[in-house]
């Protein structure tokens, strides 16, 4: 069987660059770069998770920020209770151990994705978009009104979580930790999309009626994909909480869902590399343009429109040798 190795090579090359980059940045004494790329990678995890349902599964979920924010708030709230010493709901003690806060974040975002998916996946098309958006906004307003956890102002996490004696406050350590998680999550996505489960998910995107006609209860498969994607966003949120040492309702806002969606579409839907490219480009553009002018969003808009107009498969399709290789 002849399989095209090029998409895999491009992905490998991207990770090689990410691996070498901090050493170059350190040599050039540019720690800000390390922090910026860490942020890009965290968003890349969130965008990759959205890509699993949006790009591969064809489910236009407009509420992905909810899982991302819930993942972040799980870390933040557990930390707040750790500092104050009062247990959460009177029973759950707070903690600053990443080996506990991370699984907790995955659990919370996964359970929420299960509940939201169970309800919203009964609909399709525009209703589905609107219902995912509505549920995510409910979570946003919930956290805005929770004065106990900072309300509008959010929660400050004074010290990052502890993990096996690593100094997570150290930019470089956190960079490699994030890179490891990104590699693991993208690797997992790569296995999933080519597995039996992934074939079914891809089939549902292409023709749900056909899938029912060969005997697939599509709802269950979509729901499981939804939960896997939600947990990926939860992972990204937990990392961001530790990286920014701050969580706020901004993480849950619908514009964050929109940003994640732009990253996926900009980079290339239904490809493993696409969301990573999308996250790097969007965060990169934001950072460059905002350093240059206060009205950076005014310039960002047309750039995005141009890319989407002229590269229908996203940035991914612009890479030589990958054109027409969408949906690897």
């Amino acid at each position: 069987m002849t399989t095209n190795r090029r998409p895999l090579m491009a992905l490998g090359l991207t990770f090689a660059v990410l691996l070498v980059l901090p050493f170059v940045a350190t040599a050039l004494d540019s720690t800000a770069t390390i922090s910026l790329v860490t942020r890009m990678m965290i968003y890349a995890i969130a965008a990759s998770s959205l890509n699993l349902i949006l790009g591969y599964g064809g489910m236009v979920s407009f509420g992905h920020a909810a899982y991302y924010g819930l993942g972040g708030y799980t870390v933040g709230i557990l930390y707040a209770h750790f500092v104050s010493g009062d247990p959460l709901f009177g029973i759950i003690p707070g903690t600053n151990q990443f080996l506990i806060t991370l699984p907790a974040a995955l659990l919370v975002s996964g359970l929420f994705a299960l509940a939201l998916g169970a309800l919203s996946l009964r609909t399709s098309g525009v209703q589905f978009i609107m219902i995912t958006l509505a549920f995510a906004q409910m979570v946003f307003f919930l956290f805005v009104s929770l004065e106990m956890y900072g309300g509008d102002d959010g929660l400050i996490i004074r010290r990052p979580n502890e993990l096996l004696g690593l100094r997570l406050r150290d930019e470089l350590t956190f960079y490699f930790l994030t890179l490891g998680f990104l590699a693991a999550y993208v690797g997992l996505c790569g296995r999933i999309v080519n597995s039996r489960f992934g074939m079914v998910i891809g089939g549902i995107r292409q023709n749900e009626r056909r899938m029912a006609a060969i005997g697939v209860s599509t709802y269950r498969y979509k729901l499981v994909a939804f939960v896997i994607a939600g947990m990926g966003a939860g992972l990204a949120g937990a990392l961001m909480a530790n990286h920014a040492r701050f969580v706020s309702p901004d993480m849950l806002h619908w514009t964050k869902s929109g940003e994640l969606m732009i990253m996926v579409i900009l980079g290339g839907m239904g490809t493993l590399l696409g969301p990573i490219l999308g996250a790097i480009s969007l965060i990169g553009l934001e950072s460059v343009l905002s350093g240059w002018t206060e009205n950076w969003q005014f310039y960002l808009g047309p750039i995005l429109v141009l890319i989407v107009l002229f590269a229908r498969g996203g940035l991914y399709s612009l890479i030589p040798g990958l054109r027409g290789n969408g949906r690897d």
Binding site: F197, G198, G203, N207, I214, G215, Y221
Partner: protein, 252 residues
């Protein structure tokens, strides 16, 4: 003559769309092993009947009994698992996948649940080899690795059939397998159905009368949602009411 229990029994089936009665107290039997053709002028409600048998449309009244079990209220998915497969008039295929992927997926689904997240399904030889055999049966094996979007219309029709066969059905519902095919392709499809005949029970909706009269063991004629005659091809050919129904259409 021995009375065999029909594989599919439709009893007093009714389907209305607003004021239009698309299926009007239709009763029909399909016996095990036979190729039963359902013919009728345009708008007679043939596809509507197929959709109700497959479970995509819910009847307003009446019963559908398949292999001795009432399936009237079952979902499409459960009916497929009982052995009821359908090929679509307007082909429903997975366009980004190859022909082999399409069939392998049907094999995969028949073999059990697909909550397997790790192993590469395209490298699973048990799935690929089984899928290959169904493609061979319909004469599409030489196009196995071509994306569906790049296949011709005739090949899409063949692939529809291969996918339906891969579900190992007891009864195959074929909705106009010849529609849109050229003369040569139609002849090939007729030959193919002829080869499958006897091995798989089929309910065939088709406009190509030459094919229908060559293939069918029995024919039912549907006019305005009602069955006006059922019988052997010779009986149907001789039936005055059928001739009237078709003649009026030809004159119109």
């Amino acid at each position: 003559m021995a009375v065999t229990e029909p594989l599919l029994r439709i009893v007093q089936l009714v389907k209305r769309f607003g004021g239009l009665v698309a299926t009007d107290h239709l009763s029909l039997d399909v016996r095990p092993g036979e190729l039963h053709a359902l013919i009728g002028p345009n708008g007679a409600g043939k596809t509507t009947v197929m959709s109700q048998i497959a479970g995509e449309l819910r009847q307003d009244a009446g019963q559908i009994i398949f292999a001795g079990q009432e399936i009237s209220a079952m979902s499409t998915v459960r009916r497929v698992r009982l052995g009821l497969a359908r090929s679509f008039q307007v082909t429903q295929l997975l366009e980004d996948y190859t022909a082999l992927d399409n069939v392998a997926l049907a094999v995969q689904v028949r073999l059990g649940h697909s909550f397997r997240f790790w192993a590469n399904a395209r490298r699973d030889r048990s799935l690929r080899e089984a899928a290959w055999r169904y493609l061979e049966q319909v004469g599409l094996d030489h196009r196995a690795d071509v994306r569906v979007a790049d296949l011709s219309h005739g090949e899409h029709k063949q692939l529809e059939l291969a996918i339906a066969l891969a579900t190992e059905p007891k009864l195959l519902l074929m909705d106009e397998p010849m529609a849109g095919l050229g003369a040569t392709e139609s002849r090939q499809m007729t030959e193919l159905l002829g080869r499958l005949k006897g091995r798989i029970t089929m309910l065939l909706v088709e406009h190509d009368m030459e094919a229908v009269f060559a293939l069918a063991d029995r024919i039912s004629v549907l006019v305005y949602g009602r069955c006006i005659a059922t019988g052997s091809p010779a009986e149907i050919r001789a039936n005055a009411e059928v001739r009237a129904a078709y003649l009026t259409e030809d004159e119109a």
